[in-house]
Every structure is written in structure tokens, then in C-alpha cells.
Amino acid sequence: METRSRGLAVAGAGVIIAAMIAGMVWGLAAPLPDVPMAAAPLLPPGPDHWLGTNQLGQDNLLRALAATPGTLALGLAASVIALVLSTVYGVLSVTAPPVLGRVMMRAIDVLLALPSLLVAMLVASYVRPGPGVLVLLLAGLGWPPDVRVVAALARREVARDSTRFARVFGGGPVYLMVHHVVPRMVPVLIALAVQGTRQTIIHASALAFVGLTDPSFPTWGGMLAEALPRLHEPTAIWQVAAPALALCGTILALGLAGTRLESWAHRSLGGSDDRG
């Protein structure tokens, strides 16, 4: 059971990572044109359009697929930026003089008290961010929760004998961080990155759903919002199906991968395997 599910987790993670890299390359090399308005509007599912068409005669399934690489790339980019920020900040707060370190952690407490989705909506209401600004906005709101984890780990690694020896042999602070502290944190950082990607995708889809992102950037949340005015008609289910399944499936996949990675990280830090 354990081996099989671990194999599945690795395979799942592999697929996600491959899709993300492909998506990044694709998205950067040639921004996707919007799906053509090739058919009659609001067609029911048929052999030509498996999930029917929307108000503009665009294929529902195709649009959901076209939004995939952008969504994954956006989630990954924001979570990597957030992770770099939180790692640098967390490590700095540990190596800084104790008084400054304490002030830095207090500042994090202040940021953690803010409801991040509401703040994102507040800022986005002015900016209507496209993908680039959205990445920065969500990264800016996503990094504080990771700092505590990173700082706790860094504190533990700094206190290790190997790190102390390296310092005695003349390793400077940057050398110590790059060669002794951060490498041991990698499993945890990977787990945090996956959970961060999941959180970013949830937030980005929520913003798109209320119409707070640039509408020319295709998103699952935006597609669901387009179906809102016709929700009272049963045929709207075809318009909703593709983006809803894509969104929930992605969040689920990232959640499962994240949980697995967390227990892997837990073991790699020397923890026992018997957590609930």
C-alpha cells in the first residue's frame, strides 16, 4: 500500500512538473490566441464540441485546456518567488542580531493577521492585474506564512555541529547559508512550493471569478464567471463542467502531491513515519 501510493505520488508529481515546464515554455514562447469563435453559440455537447460552446461560440473544453498552462505557470511562478522571499527573510531573521530577528518575526505576525484574499481583492480592484502583476501580487501576499517554517528550520541547521565546524574553519555567513543551511532545507522548501502553488491557484481563480483580473488572460475562474448569468438554465452545466473540473482537479492533485511531499520532508528531517 505504502509503496504503491508513493509510486503514484511520484508519478503524479512528475506529470505536474512536466506539464508546468511545458506550460511555461509554451506560454513564454507563444502566448495562446483565444479559442476561435468557430461554432454557433451555446451548442449542446456533440461530436465536434465535446462539452458544447459558450455564448460566443467558443469550444468549452478547448478553452478550459487553453487556460491550463497559464494557470499552472502563474501558480508556480508566484509560489517560487514567495518561497525565495520567505527563505531569504527567514534565514536573515535567524542570522541577524537577536533583537532585530525578533522585530522581523513580529513584522511577520502583523502580515499574517491580514486576510490575504481580501487584501488581494483590494489591490486588484484598482489594478485589474494581468498575469505578470498577478504573480507579483499573489507572491507578495503568499510569503509570510512560510517564514515561520523556514526560520525554525534555519535555526536548527545553524545550531548543527557541521555548521559550527564550518564557521570555525572560516566560512562566512553567505557561504554557511548556501552550503550548509539551505541545502538541508530543500525537501521542506519543495513541499512548501507545491502547497504555495495550490494556494496561489485558488486565490487567482477566486480573483478571476469576481472579475478582478485582466479578462483577456484565460482563467478557469473567469470562465465560471462567464457562465454566471445563465446559471438558471440547465444547459449552463456544460459551460461550467470543464473549468470546474479542471480547477478542482488541479487543486486536488497539488494537494495530494503536497501532503506526500510533506511526509517525505518530515522523514528526511529525521521524523518518524507514524503521523495520523
Binding site: A113, P115, L118, L122, S125, L231, L247, C248
Partner: protein
């Protein structure tokens, strides 16, 4: 012995209050900076979509004054804080009314949803989490966990859409939109029943969303409690299943649930916005949605600011209660 505990408690209370004040300041500051940090004239942003001709000359100065955009930045900020302290959130450009006058009449609907959902999700989440936790290592445990995981992966607005399709459109059991039947003459109990019926679906979406999170937590702490000697003892004594749950497991898991109140509340407050949009429920969420579509910035920011302040206040109260409880031991 009691003195150091009391002083530590006071110190942490003060620290939490200062933290909340700072967070409040950051929130308000963000709102202030956002419109002014954009390239170009803030007036141009505020009236980007105004149907009236671009205001010029004197009219522009007048508008600038009306929206508090005249004078130096520091001066503007102080005036802005002063207005907020008086409860003045600005004027809606679309409705021509003070934002607060738009918020107050619809806020009770949102409060109804959030309040009821908080109580229900704590009760259901704790009970459900204990049940799942007690089945740890038995048959069906994996299925239950899978259901929880899948339910947790569905954003609140997708949950709301699914519920709408199944129960309002598919089975035709419950009303699909609004908070009560329009132009209804019903009074008294019939009216309350109507309101309750309309609240069922939005509430279900919200409760489902937060219940899974609480159930996860309660499950984890139930499993740790299970291995404690007093549980073995209770089972050996033949304590009834109900008493085992209510008197033995529930009190031990309560601390985790209370500690989660802050996150629970902020999840519900942001979730309710999306759920209201799906069910066209006439609360703050609809107000925000309308504001976004009509680019009525003052309304959007007014609502978000009020919700943010509410969340910060509730979280502070919850934290202080937890501190008190922890100090008592």
C-alpha cells in the same frame, strides 16, 4: 507564583493588541497607497469609465477635493484617517450615496450567513472529525479521508455552483437565488420560513467548505487522544459511545478548534462573498460584485475594508480568549 503568570499574560495581551493595530494600519495604508501609486492621475483612474465627459478645470479641482486628493500626501493621509474614524468611507460614484449607507442595509444578510455558518461548521466539523478519527485504522477510513480531501479541494464558488445545479435546478427543492421571495406578503413565521428556505443553499456551501477544514484538525487531535491511557481506561470501563465522544474526546480536541477560530472566520468572510455572488444573495458579496462590474471603487474598497477590520477584530478577541484559557491551564 501567580504574579509572573499575570504579568506575562498582560504583556502578551498588549503585544497582540499592538500587532492588530499595526495590521489595521497596513490594511488602511494599502488602500490609501494603491490608488495613488498607479501611474497617472488618481482622478483618471477613478473616472476611467465614467459616462460623463472628462471633467476639466474647476470641476476637476472640485472632484479632487471631494475624493480627498488635494494637498500633500501626508496631509491627504491624515484627512483620510480622520474620515475613516468618523465612519466616512467615501461616496459611491454610481449610487451617489455614502458607502456606509449602502453597506448597512445589506450587512445583516451577510451576518446571518456568516454567523449561522460559524456555529454549524464548528458543531458539524468537530462531530465529523471525531467520527473519522475514531475510525482511524479501520475499514472505510481511507474512503472517508478521500471524501474529505476531495471536498477540501473544491473552491467555495464551485461548491455553490454544484449545489445550485443539483438542489435548485435539478431537483427543484430549494430556491436558487435571493434572500426571500420577492414582493411576498408573508408576515411572521411564514416570512421567517421563507428566509430560512432561501438561506439553506448558501449556508450549505459555506458550511461544507469550513466543516472539512475543522474535521481535518479534529480528526488529527482525536487520533492523538486515542492512544492516551485514559481512553483505554474509558473503553475498558464500558463508557457509552455518546459519552466517550462528548465527555472524553471532544474536550481534548476543543483547544485545536478554538485556536483555529481566527482562520475559520476569515475563511468564512471571504467565502461568503463568492457564495453570495452565485446565489444572488443580497449581502455584501453582491455589493462588491456590483461595485466591481460598475467600477464603483469606493463601494468595493469600503466593503473590503470593513470586512478586513471585522476579521482583525474577531481574530484579536479569539486570541485573547485563547490566551486567557491557556493561562488558566
Amino acid at each position: 507564583m501567580s504574579m509572573p503568570v499575570a504579568s506575562a499574560l498582560t504583556r502578551r495581551t498588549i503585544v497582540r493588541c499592538i500587532e492588530t493595530l499595526l495590521a489595521l494600519f497596513v490594511l488602511i495604508g494599502l488602500n490609501f497607497v494603491a490608488v495613488r501609486a498607479l501611474p497617472g492621475d488618481p482622478l483618471g483612474v477613478l473616472f476611467a469609465d465614467a459616462t460623463l465627459a472628462a471633467p476639466t478645470g474647476e470641476a476637476r479641482d472640485q472632484l479632487r477635493q471631494m475624493y480627498g486628493l488635494d494637498g500633500g500626501l501626508m496631509d491627504q493621509f491624515v484627512r483620510y484617517l480622520g474620515h475613516l474614524a468618523e465612519g466616512d468611507l467615501g461616496v459611491s460614484a454610481v449610487h451617489g450615496l455614502p458607502v456606509l449607507d449602502l453597506i448597512l442595509p445589506v450587512a445583516p444578510w451577510t451576518l446571518l450567513l456568516v454567523g449561522t455558518a460559524t456555529v454549524l461548521s464548528v458543531l458539524l466539523g468537530t462531530a465529523g472529525g471525531i467520527e473519522v478519527g475514531l475510525r482511524h485504522g479501520r475499514r472505510g477510513n481511507a474512503t472517508l479521508l478521500a471524501v474529505l480531501t476531495v471536498a477540501d479541494s473544491i473552491p467555495p464558488f464551485v461548491k455553490a455552483i454544484v449545489l445550485l445545479f443539483v438542489f435548485a435546478l435539478g431537483l427543484n427543492l430549494l430556491p436558487a437565488s435571493g434572500a426571500m421571495t420577492q414582493f411576498s406578503e408573508a408576515r411572521g413565521l411564514a416570512r421567517l420560513g421563507d428566509i430560512a428556505l432561501h438561506a439553506v443553499l448558501p449556508l450549505s456551501a459555506l458550511v461544507l467548505h469550513e466543516t472539512t477544514k475543522i474535521a481535518y484538525l479534529t480528526r488529527a487531535s482525536t487520533i492523538t487522544v486515542l492512544s492516551r491511557p485514559f481512553m483505554t481506561m474509558a473503553r475498558a470501563k464500558g463508557v457509552s459511545p455518546l459519552r466517550l465522544r462528548s465527555a472524553y474526546v471532544a474536550p481534548s480536541t476543543l483547544a485545536t478548534v478554538v485556536a483555529r477560530t481566527a482562520a475559520l472566520f476569515s475563511g468564512l468572510v471571504s467565502g461568503v462573498l463568492f457564495v453570495e455572488i452565485v446565489f444572488a444573495y443580497p449581502g455584501l458579496g453582491m455589493l462588491v460584485a456590483e461595485g466591481i462590474t460598475s467600477r464603483d471603487y469606493a463601494v468595493v474598497q469600503g466593503v473590503l475594508l470593513i470586512l478586513g477590520v471585522t476579521i482583525l477584530t474577531v481574530n484579536l478577541i479569539a486570541d485573547l480568549v485563547i490566551l486567557r484559557l491557556a493561562a488558566r491551564g
